[in-house]
């Protein structure tokens, strides 16, 4: 064995452990750890792998429901669809790597989430992503956008999983910390679900996929679990390099080997902390142990130390437990796909993970100690003193407008509200031929072949709302996601979240985090959409400056019949336009205030979850009785912008509308004020009475606000015309704006 560094407390600190954590590791082992063991403890107990700062709070999230088959704790969550079919989905962050190396960081983020899905025995059929970038005047922003989008496209397009939706926002708080959250969903037979457990002592442990190299060592522990500083560039080597072709082979080989029952006992992907995490977690879940011989691990380069092999985060690898009878079958399938499959060890009943290299034991640690006895912190939290100052309600010092046309055009061509076509046309959003509603409506819809079923997918978070009021912001994010599903005609099945925050060692960040958890928990309970899994990303800070709290919510909805799919744009000239919900919004925290008055202040209007739910039921109920031609959620940009979207987002071109709004008070608030619990619906004229009656029965306010048709959007209020816009050029400008902004 080459001489390894002497393990000391100082070395542990250099690994990102605290002195107390090091003492805890020594106590768990009953001796000083070896160098390899120190590496193992440091990654397993990193924030990224152990959730040590968040775990006690995550317990408050609702993780049960009648359709839920697998909640948090596995590679991905599982929800029952019907006819023995299940949906397997999860969202994860790849923020830090994507900032350091945008193409590969984003690409391997996609690769990682896809592995989480097919590890469970499910074929991935759709992906989403949620991206946050800094302001355009930051020198890195354009480079990061280009790299991240190409990375997602490069990986997802090649492996053949459509990217059917997502969101992109720009804000200076992400200047030094972009967010790349990726979601994927797969479909499986309920009885073919596989889990990451190493059952059956004596069973072979098989390594499959790419060879192991030196890439990604300490990606999870040092890159993802600490703040950025000026030296972060030097962490570039900790970012892995993706190979979608190999992952495609791995995907097909894994699904083929999992098709026959009983061949695979357990399987887990080697993601963060690679071989370490997969061996330890699989043994810990099963209450077994494992013996691993590193000499049998396929290596990409010579001279790798046990420490490096255990910590490598090389991509496109899986750890699989078969049986003595089935190991041949596993080898045959992987050989067919030209992939390595090497038996690297056996399951044991010792409860320990024992690692040897060249005949010597290099690590021998209890599996459960690394998982269950990981440190848990209840970190101090405190409402920041500046929080109250943000709530300053009155935009009183701002002059009201007398006509909204100019502001509406400005909003519709702004960086945050213009069309995302420039980006989503770079993603293959149609492969697998299931995409019924493509990117650009409230939710994407995919059909499930061989059934009448469809799924609706959406991802949402308004981080400004979360910054101004973390608890209400989180409730609003969940409510908006569920509303988007309702507007697609779907019922929520479940939710996965990516909780992106700053440094948890700061009490104000911890407060934001706790508030968000409580907000998500309350809204998910009220709207019957349990959390099936997700991920926490802390330390999104650079030189002490944190991001806006961004708890991204991805939600999956169900349609019993794909024919019930609804899109957001007006369909027919002459259809009536209704507003379901209250007419009035608030300028607090609005896009209008931020864009046109450079103010991020005020309180976002809160959501009454019971009323929200009644609204969603009404939209779906009206759809069932054939009363809905289109339905669109009103969010950023308020009522006026939502109406404009109804007019111009359809793939066939613009359909205008004549709208009359009632309302007293400020005109800017009427047009651009934001509020939850509002949906714009269009319906054939003969449906009016029936729709109004259904709304009354549901106690949802309903008002007929106009009629679709013509080449213009005109809005009158208080007797005068307040918006009058020719739509053809408005649509062209809205579509072209993002490319223009990014060109600079």
């Amino acid at each position: 064995m080459t001489s390894e560094p002497q393990v000391t407390r100082e070395l542990a600190l250099a690994h990102g452990m605290t002195a107390e954590e090091y003492d805890r590791a020594v106590a768990a082992l009953g001796r000083t750890p070896s160098y390899t063991e120190l590496g193992i403890f440091s990654v397993m107990w990193s924030e990224h792998c152990s959730y040590k700062s968040s775990r006690i709070h995550l317990k408050r999230l609702p993780t049960e429901g009648p359709r839920l088959i697998q909640g948090p704790g596995e590679n991905a969550g599982v929800v029952e669809i019907g006819d023995g079919i299940v949906a397997v989905f999860k969202m994860e962050s790849h923020n830090h790597p994507s900032y350091v190396e945008p193409y590969q960081g984003a690409a391997t983020g996609v690769g990682g989430i896809l592995r989480d899905i097919f590890t469970m025995g499910a074929r991935p059929i759709a992906s989403l992503n949620s991206l946050r970038f800094g302001s355009l005047d930051h020198p890195r922003t354009r480079y990061l956008v280009g790299g991240v989008v190409s990375g997602i496209a490069g990986y997802g397009n090649s492996i053949g999983v459509p990217t059917v939706g997502g969101e992109i926002y720009f804000h200076p708080s992400y200047n030094g910390n972009i967010l790349v959250n990726v979601f994927s969903l797969g479909i499986a037979r309920r009885d073919k679900i596989h889990r990451g457990t190493a059952g059956g002592p004596g069973n072979p442990v098989i390594y499959v996929g790419s060879k192991t190299g030196r890439d990604g060592i300490h990606g999870a522990s040092l890159l993802a679990s600490s703040e950025f500083d000026a030296a972060s560039e030097t962490k570039r080597p900790t970012v892995q390099v993706g190979d979608p072709f190999t992952e495609k082979l791995l995907l097909e080989a894994c699904l083929e080997v999992m098709k026959s029952p009983g061949v695979v006992v357990g399987i887990q992907d080697m993601g963060a902390a690679g071989l370490t995490c997969s061996t330890v977690e699989m043994a810990a879940r099963a209450g077994t142990g494992m013996e691993i011989d590193l000499d049998r691990v396929p290596l990409r380069e010579e001279g790798m130390t046990p420490y490096e092999i255990m910590l490598s985060e090389s991509q496109e690898r899986m750890l699989l437990v078969a049986t003595p009878q089935t190991e041949r079958r596993v080898r045959e399938v992987f050989e067919k796909w030209d992939l390595d499959a090497s038996i690297i060890g056996r399951v044991t009943d010792t409860g320990r993970v024992r690692v040897t290299s060249r005949g010597q034991v290099v690590a021998d640690t209890p599996a459960r100690a690394l998982v269950d006895d990981a440190p848990r912190y209840k970190r101090p939290s405190a409402r920041p003193p500046w929080q109250d100052g943000l709530a300053e309600p009155a935009p009183g010092s701002i002059k009201d407008i007398s006509n909204g046309t100019k502001a509406l055009v400005a909003l519709s061509t702004s960086l945050n509200l213009c069309s995302r076509e420039e980006v989503y046309t770079e993603y293959d959003h149609m492969v697998r031929s299931n995409t019924v509603v493509r990117p650009g409506s409230d939710a994407a819809i995919i059909r499930l072949k061989g059934t009448r079923y469809a799924l609706a997918l959406t991802v949402d978070c308004n981080a400004r709302h979360c910054y101004l009021d973390p608890m209400e912001g989180a409730r609003l994010a969940v409510a908006e996601a569920a509303r988007n599903l309702a507007c697609a005609g779907a019922v929520p099945l479940g939710t996965t979240d990516c909780l992106n925050f700053g440094n948890p060692e700061k009490p104000e960040v911890m407060w934001q985090f706790e508030q968000s958890i409580d907000g998500i928990a309350a809204a998910c309970r009220a709207l019957d959409t349990p959390i099936v899994g997700g991920n926490v990303s802390f330390y999104n800070e650079t030189e002490g400056k944190g991001i806006h709290p961004t708890p991204t919510i991805a939600m999956v909805g169900f349609l019993v019949d794909v024919k019930g799919a609804i899109t957001q744009w007006f369909k027919r000239e002459g259809d009536l336009v209704f507003l379901l919900g209250d007419a009035h919004g608030s300028l607090g925290g609005s896009e209008y205030l931020a864009l046109l008055h450079q103010r991020e202040s005020g309180r976002p209007q809160g959501v009454d979850l019971e009323r929200e739910r009644a609204l969603h039921d009404l939209v779906r109920g009206a759809r069932d009785t054939g009363l809905v031609a289109s339905a669109h959620d009103c969010s950023e940009g308020g009522l006026a912008f939502a109406l404009l979207e109804c007019c111009i987002t359809g793939p066939q071109g613009a359909v205008g509308a004549e709208i009359k709004l009632e309302g007293k008070g400020r005109l800017d608030e009427l047009l651009f004020g934001e509020a939850p619990t509002r949906v714009i619906v269009s319906a054939p004229a003969e449906c009016r009475a029936r729709l109004e009656q259904m709304a009354h029965t549901a106690s949802v306010p309903v008002s007929l606000i106009g009629r679709a048709g013509g080449p213009r959007l005109s809005i009158t209020a208080g007797g005068g015309t307040v918006v009058d816009l020719e739509l053809a050029p408005a649509r062209t400008a809205w579509r072209a704006a993002l490319a223009g902004h990014l060109k600079g």
């Binding site: 496209a153 090649s158 053949g160 072709f245 796909w337 293959d428 492969v431 697998r432 031929s433 995409t435």
Partner: protein
């Protein structure tokens, strides 16, 4: 009728074509593994879209060496129907079964969106049920779809009427704006001189059912079935 769908490592529209052949058209379909050296009982071979061998070199450059390609070549030489879609077109051109080459898109980016295509001739098995001059709406999804051939080859293609589809606008005009990738002469699909091998960049397999909002792609598959039945009846 039986469709044989070649599965290269990295093919990712193989299931989509299988679905159309089997569940939309109601015909038989089988996957043909790229390492196999022969196949039998197949009436139309489809080379599906995807990223065969990762397309890390030039798209299709490695796939042409897959063992199955010798059998595909022999099948085509016997007059069998061979249809390359997207990556399949790239493979066919690399294999020399079709003239020209597919280069990186003029915009240098992958592009996924609907385009319009003008059908240039009806007298091929792939367009037998579509009148010449018809404008179809089909989606593209590719990074390397810019059709290129030297001028003398282009001339020959035009003379022999081997250009089967051209990118156009909704009104059927071939314009620069309606060309998603910079293909010369707006070429989206070409056939061999004999007319039994077709390569097409857009995806009829992604728009063959009303539930997907567009069933125009089905017309190509219906044409294939029609032509095959016609040929069979003529043999009898």
């Amino acid at each position: 009728m039986k469709f044989g769908i070649v599965v290269f490592p990295g093919s990712n529209c193989d299931h989509d074509v299988y679905h159309v052949a089997k569940h939309v058209l109601g015909h038989e379909a089988a996957f043909l593994w790229h390492k196999d050296t022969s196949f039998a009982g197949i009436d139309c071979v489809v080379l599906p879209g995807g990223f065969a061998h990762g397309d890390y070199l030039r798209a299709g450059a490695i796939a042409r060496f897959s063992p199955i390609m010798k059998a595909v070549e022999a099948f085509a030489a016997r007059g069998g129907l061979v249809f390359g879609i997207c990556n399949g077109f790239q493979v066919l051109s690399e294999a020399g079964l079709l003239p020209g080459a597919l280069m990186c898109n003029a915009g240098l980016k992958y592009v996924c969106r609907d385009v319009f295509l003008r059908v240039e001739r009806q007298d091929t098995p792939f367009t037998a049920r579509i009148k010449q001059g018809t404008v179809l709406k089909l989606p593209v999804g590719h990074g390397e779809g810019c059709y290129y051939a030297p001028e003398e080859i282009l001339k020959e293609l035009e003379e022999k009427r081997q250009v089967v589809f051209r990118y156009c606008d909704a009104g059927g005009q071939v314009t620069a704006d309606s060309n998603p990738n910079g293909s010369l002469r707006g070429i989206a699909g070409v056939c061999n001189a004999r007319g039994n091998v077709l390569g097409l960049m857009p995806h009829p397999d992604r728009c063959a059912e009303e539930v997907l909002g567009n069933a125009q792609g089905r017309r190509l598959f219906d044409s294939i079935v029609y032509a095959w039945e016609l040929a069979r009846r003529q043999r009898i």
